[in-house]
């Protein structure tokens, strides 16, 4: 009993370190130290748990820690910065599944003990234990398959497009109601054999629901989904904390749940959409009308001609999007930026909050390429100076520069804040082909009189420009 107090005190310290860690992650100067501090919190939480006298067998624990450390360490070391969204989604899914399994293991324990003995040991009524076990299983399961499916979409293993079909919403609602109904039954029944069956069906439905919930969400909305799943993995851990009556799980999980929710809200705001709209609208799955009868064709320009324009420009703004990540073009973009600076131009990078596939995706890529911090300009600061910019170079971005968001009320993205590339004197748009963007919308920017398309692989195009400037 005495030692339990010590353990709980150490958990308080761990939780405090998490709080400080998250706080420090919020500012550029302290972020790295913040991560280390939160890591230290995790370490002492793990170490003190290992000293718990309830633990009788260490060999599997050591094996589990070793295997997990090896896999996690290698993955973290090898991952390319462009694949960061996938990796975060994958880790997130693992965390969710771990919480599900913890709840499941606890239920197995109940099956061994019987409800009476278990409730006496936990000091909690049986209905409470069954509710939180079911919740931890449910949230963990949805997080797992949802994250895995998001991982598939992000890594291109499955189509990134939103998938909708007739009756989808009704089916999802049906599955959800079934999950709730089984949960109620699971809580009500004192019969362990029936409870076991209900629990397994519940797991299957939760896993199914995770996939179904992510299905109608398109690739462009991924930053929101990743944030939300991140929040869910925290809530799953928190629920698992209620299951085993552990303070540090409850606090740490809840902190993550709340902070993930904030990020989700920020992402939704950056797209001027509600969370419900992102989750349920099947955005981009339907084919859009071809705009307001504007049938001007996009005008292409050769790399050679683009070079002459860039060479004469005194201010250039790069606007990167997911296409830059796909083409792995961040390093050549940085080189081009440097050459233009040497040429006397003022060079900036305009970052839209939802550019890419996760919050802050572009910042990570450009930081990897060593682009100086002060050249990365946020949307609200770049837009006022856009009319004075000679050349705006859009690299694989689409919806975030679509002027329809500001002037076409019929557009699905109307009202979304954009980077006003169209106000620059000249706009170059680097694009792989003539297809539509992830959202499937027609981009009015492409047909404007001051816009010129440069078709082809972004990395190849920019390399050519770099060579021209060097030559």
């Amino acid at each position: 009993m005495e030692f339990d107090n010590v353990i709980n005190l150490v958990y308080v310290i761990a939780a405090t370190l998490f709080v400080f860690g998250i706080k420090m992650l919020g500012s550029a100067e302290t972020a790295r130290r913040g991560n280390l501090i939160s890591g230290a919190g995790m370490l002492i939480a793990i170490v003190i748990t290992l000293l718990d006298q309830g633990i009788l067998d260490f060999k599997w624990i050591i094996a589990g820690l070793a295997v997990g450390t090896l896999i996690g360490g290698i993955a973290a070391r090898l991952v390319k910065m462009t694949s960061m969204p996938e990796l975060v989604a994958l880790f997130n899914g693992f965390g969710g599944l771990a919480s599900l399994l913890v709840a499941w293991a606890e239920f197995e324990k109940i099956k061994d003990f019987g409800w009476g003995a278990y409730s006496a040991e936990m000091g909690a009524p049986g209905y409470f234990s069954s509710i939180v076990i079911y919740l931890a299983m449910l949230i963990g399961g949805i997080t797992f398959t949802g994250s895995l499916y998001a991982y598939g979409k992000l890594s291109g293993r499955v189509s990134g497009q939103a998938k909708v079909f007739a009756g989808q919403k009704a089916l999802n609602a049906l599955v959800f109601i079934a999950i709730l109904a089984i949960g109620v039954l699971f809580t009500w029944t004192g019969d362990l054999a029936l409870g076991d069956t209900l629990f397994l069906v519940g797991i299957a439905l939760a896993l199914l629901f995770g996939v179904m919930a992510v299905m109608p969400i398109g690739g462009g909305d991924m930053p929101v989904v990743i944030s939300l799943l991140n929040s869910f993995s925290g809530l799953a851990a928190s629920a698992a904390g209620f299951v085993i009556g552990n303070n540090v799980l409850i606090v740490a999980g809840c902190l993550v749940g709340a902070s993930g929710l904030i990020l989700t809200a920020i992402m939704c705001k950056a797209m001027n959409r509600t969370l419900g709209n992102v989750l349920f609208s099947g955005f981009g799955a339907t084919s859009q009308s071809e705009g307001d009868g504007d049938d001007r064709e996009p005008k292409a320009i050769s790399v050679q001609d683009a070079y002459y324009v860039l060479e004469a420009a005194s201010s250039v703004v790069f606007i990167p999007g997911y296409g830059m990540a796909v083409a792995q073009a961040q390093h050549v973009v940085k080189e081009l930026g440097e050459l233009l600076e040497e040429n006397g131009a003022d060079v900036n990078f305009a970052i839209h909050p939802v550019a890419g596939r996760m919050p802050g995706h572009m910042n990570v890529l450009l930081a990897e390429a060593d682009v100086p911090y002060d050249q990365l300009v946020e949307m609200d600061n770049i837009n006022p100076i856009m009319p004075t910019v000679d050349v705006a170079v859009v690299i694989g971005a689409n919806d975030v520069v679509n002027p329809a968001a500001t002037d076409d009320e019929t557009s699905p993205i109307y009202g979304m804040p954009i980077i006003e590339a169209h106000k620059a004197k000249t706009v170059f748009i680097l694009k792989r082909g003539q297809g539509k963007g992830f959202s499937g919308l027609v981009n009015k920017l492409f047909v404007l009189d001051n816009s010129r398309m440069i078709y082809g692989d972004a990395k190849a195009t920019i390399s050519e420009l770099v060579n021209e400037l060097k030559g």
Partner: protein, 94 residues
């Protein structure tokens, strides 16, 4: 443990979490997400207990072991990758 107390803790932690990151510059969104993701691997503590204490139930121990591996990947990978990212963010001498 007192259930009401657990809820109390939960609610307070929620408000704390909301307050903590209300204003984070967008360049830090990715590290913040992957860093907090690593924290959600705290479920590793539950996994350790489940693996070590479920001696009479083989199924429970296997489940605990799987949970432990997954949570460890989440924790170790999450912290390392966040650190790798933040390393790139350090101030450039220019």
């Amino acid at each position: 443990m007192d259930l009401v107390l657990l809820f109390f803790i939960f609610v307070l932690a929620a408000f704390l979490g909301l307050e903590l990151i209300a204003k984070v510059p967008s360049q830090l969104h990715t590290p913040l997400m992957s860093g907090s993701n690593a924290i959600s691997g705290i479920t590793i503590v539950g996994a350790i207990v489940a693996t070590g204490a479920n001696l009479n139930g083989t199924v429970g121990m296997i489940l605990g072991f799987l949970a432990l591996v997954l949570a460890t990947i989440n924790v170790v990978g999450g912290y390392l990758v966040t650190d790798r990212m933040l390393q790139m963010f350090k101030k450039k001498d220019k």
